[in-house]
Point group: C2
DNA sequence: ATAAATGCTAAGATAAAAATTAGTAAGGCC
DNA sequence: GGCCTTACTAATTTTTATCTTAGCATTTAT
């Protein structure tokens, strides 16, 4: 995508927080749009680029490609290229990927208990 | 802060994902910069605006104020205003807040196992 | 008289994330 | 020859998040 400007306060703050706690880096990763959805999609058996793309209705090639790369870089999925034409590439979860899925499922249960309760309520003042 | 443009594809995609799974809304919330740090900060006993501000070195008033409001809106913290001058306001975690802290602590343990291993590795191609 | 204290808010600037558009390779099929 | 297929990539535009600057109220201390 685009380069980051390492001289910005924005960048410094991000780095500060990541050094403070690696949770910040994980959250930053996992909360990227479509990221967790791509992960769950693969977990459910949609193991090819096109299958994921079809399942996640509005996702663009650019973003899907980027998210798959990130998932691979963090060892959450494995990419298998069959070197065929037209291209055939398959994706599958690693153990770490499965582990993350489980954690996110717990987060998801929790989210059901707080989201849409007061979330959109109008708070006076 | 600034208004969102509800006619954008960006907005539509976000909504689509939030409707698909409330996890997306939670992740979006929790991954906002400084959000989890403010939460942990309060959990550790820094229960006032200034204490948090001093602890989180680079955070700005604007952001801290916003994050506290979000935490309150989602019932993760409680705000107690003592109506004194100079102002005295205290923050404390709710049960839901504590619950989230625990979840995030598990995420944090997990992050230690994947971040800085392959994360910054150079992947050929 | 003025400075300090605390907990904020508004408006504007800058940076980053996401979306759009247009393309690539290389073989199969009509 | 021309169109289909899959799995991508690059460059640009749009939208959003974050940061910066400046300010408020009201009492106590100097």
């Amino acid at each position: 995508m685009t380069e980051r400007k390492t001289s910005s306060t924005n960048y410094r703050n991000q780095s500060f927080l990541e050094e403070k706690c690696s949770l910040n880096e994980l959250l930053d990763l996992v909360s990227k749009r479509w990221f967790s959805d791509v992960l769950f999609c693969i977990e459910e058996g949609n193991n090819r680029f096109k299958l994921i793309k079809d399942d996640l209705k509005y996702i663009s090639d650019t973003i899907l490609s980027d998210r798959l790369k990130l998932l691979e870089r963090y060892n959450l999925i494995i990419r298998t290229d069959f070197d065929e034409i037209p291209p055939k590439v398959e994706y599958s979860l690693t153990d770490k990927g499965e582990e993350l899925v489980e954690l996110l499922e717990k987060m998801c249960e929790f989210s059901d208990t707080i989201i849409n309760k007061a979330a959109h309520a109008v708070i006076p003042g």
